[in-house]
């Protein structure tokens, strides 16, 4: 009887440890998934035979994972990551260390470059001005660049959004916190439907840019 209990307990703990390793000892990642009405979006594609996105680039910054108690369990090393939907490799952020993850964990990140980083002078890597994400006539990173056109009958109408600004109420950096499941969907249909027709050119910091930043942040989710 006693040995039977011991065997059962050992057996259970073996199962448990197997389950644990397979479930948790993973290298995790964050996969960015641009979607249009739920359909995965390919780079340089036209939606509804009308909307053509030529360029979507933005900075994803200060990525952390938080547990149920809101303590940080993971901090991504690269502070500012340049996401470019034309570069599939930029859409998968591999975490540098493996960690234990539960369903209740959350992820937090910023869209854009925060104001402290803005004041640091010349940077390299993803923040290098050769990436064309820095304004030159005035100091400041471009947090989000969205460019494309709309076809009306035979005519093409451009839209162009260069979103930035880092001071006071013109600060366009947005912090986002969502449940963490490894996915981050970017709902392009929601973004376009809220922007096009209203404001099709935003090229400098200000109210239009911060409004865009708010909308862009709301178009991100961990589910479809």
């Amino acid at each position: 009887m006693r040995t039977a209990i011991i065997i059962v307990i050992t057996f259970l703990s073996i199962i448990q440890s197997i389950a644990q390793t397979s479930q948790n000892k993973n290298t995790h990642s964050l996969k960015l998934l641009p979607v249009y009405k739920g359909e995965p979006s390919e780079p340089d594609s036209t939606y509804e035979k009308k909307y053509h996105i030529e360029k979507l680039r933005f900075y994803l910054s200060d990525l952390i994972i938080l547990n149920e108690q809101d303590s940080i369990v993971y901090t991504h090393q690269a502070k500012n990551i340049l996401i470019d939907i034309a570069k599939p490799e930029s859409l998968l952020i591999l975490f540098q260390d493996s960690l234990l993850v539960s369903k209740k964990y959350k992820m937090q990140f910023g869209i854009g470059v925060d104001s402290t980083t803005h004041a640091r002078g010349a940077m390299e890597g993803d923040l290098d001005p050769v990436n064309d994400m820095y304004w030159t006539w005035q100091s400041g990173y471009i947090n989000i660049k969205l460019e494309g056109n709309i076809t009306h009958n035979a005519n093409k109408e451009q839209f162009e959004y260069h979103i930035g600004g880092y001071t006071g109420n013109r600060n366009a950096y947005r912090k986002i916190r969502l449940p963490y499941n490894g996915n981050l969907f970017i709902h392009l249909d929601q973004l376009l439907s809220q922007m096009l027709g209203k404001q099709q050119h935003i090229m400098s910091p200000g109210k239009d840019a911060t409004d865009f930043a708010d909308i862009f942040a709301r178009c991100m989710s961990h589910t479809f």
């Binding site: 640091r120 002078g121 010349a122 390299e124 820095y134 100091s139 200000g206």
Partner: protein
């Protein structure tokens, strides 16, 4: 390499960068500053608009001239004591010396070059490959190091040897006229042109009527706040004998024109900053005294300093060897 801040100067904002200065970094920055390789057709260097003989301002033109003789809208400011400046440009559009250089390099009317293409040109150059290696120990030239080197050279431009400085350090004395001018200065000008750098680096309106050519809105262009309309960064008053013409649009060529402007200020001007709201009254004798004081802010040793000039031995090494 550490720079000794004179006792009568405040601590510089770019303290960290000054602490990292080496002569190899400054040499590299100096080469870049004088090299027209930074412009698209290799005709314009930073020094084309910022000449060492003019305390790194530009005196031929009211507003700057760039590539293909295109004309800018503002007067090129003198470059020195930049380590103390929180924001750059007449409207404060630039928040860091590193990033400031991107503006002239890429401006279609100034140097009209792309950073990407400039990096390709620099990487092809054996001179620069060696200079970057020596300064930063790197084999691959980056835009970050290029911008930081330009910063290092510009931070090394320190003007602190004027007669005023010698008086402050107890090594010289003002004449009676200069002393009288100094008292007037402290009463009427120091609120904005604050000693010892002769600027508080704030954005102010000194009563100028908007320039008719460009109707420049100044600080408003950056902040889009109506209260910032027609405000410009208070410029330093050091080295004025070398930096004419004066004001953001270069409208005055002589100091007595400037003083006549201040004494003729229209206090009905709604944009004028509060420091000047009750106007400036000066007799002609007082004007002469004030100018005598302003001339004690000229630093001839800064203008003559060979270390700041075209680096012939670095940029033209082969010619040098032929001598």
């Amino acid at each position: 390499m550490a720079y000794d801040v004179p006792a009568h100067f405040p601590l510089p904002i770019y303290e960290r960068e000054l602490a990292q200065a080496t002569s190899a970094k400054i040499d590299l920055g100096r080469a870049l500053f004088y090299d027209p390789i930074l412009s698209a057709d290799s005709t314009i260097s930073c020094a084309s608009c910022h000449s060492p003989y003019n305390s790194f301002a530009h005196t031929d033109h009211e507003v700057s001239h760039g590539i293909h003789d295109s004309i800018g809208t503002r007067n090129a400011p003198a470059l020195f004591n930049l380590a103390w400046q929180p924001l750059l440009m007449w409207d404060g559009a630039s928040n860091h010396l590193d990033m400031q250089a991107l503006a002239p390099i890429t401006h279609p009317g100034e140097m009209a070059e792309s950073i990407k293409h400039l990096m390709v040109k620099l990487k092809r150059s054996t001179i620069y490959t060696a200079l970057f290696k020596k300064a930063y120990g790197i084999d691959t030239i980056t835009s970050q190091k290029m911008l930081q080197a330009l910063t290092q050279f510009q931070l090394s431009l320190i003007s602190d040897q004027a007669k005023y400085d010698k008086v402050k350090q107890g090594n010289d004395t003002f004449t009676i006229q200069e002393q009288a001018g100094y008292s007037l200065f402290q009463a009427k000008c120091n609120a904005c042109h604050t000693e010892p750098l002769f600027s508080n680096y704030a954005f102010r309106n000194n009563g100028l009527s908007p320039d008719t050519a460009n109707y420049d809105l100044g600080r408003y262009r950056v902040t889009k706040q109506t209260q910032d309309s027609f405000l410009f960064k208070v410029p330093t008053l050091r080295n004025l004998s070398y930096t004419y013409p004066y004001m953001h649009d270069g409208r005055f060529r002589r100091l007595n024109q400037v003083l006549n402007h201040y004494t003729a200020i229209d206090n009905q001007n709604v944009h004028i900053s509060h420091e000047l709201s009750s106007g400036v009254k000066l007799t002609s004798n007082q004007k002469a005294d004030l100018i005598a004081f302003l001339l004690t802010l000229n630093d001839k040793s800064f203008i003559l300093n060979q270390d700041n000039k075209f680096p012939r031995s670095i940029l033209l090494p082969t010619k040098e060897n032929q001598h």
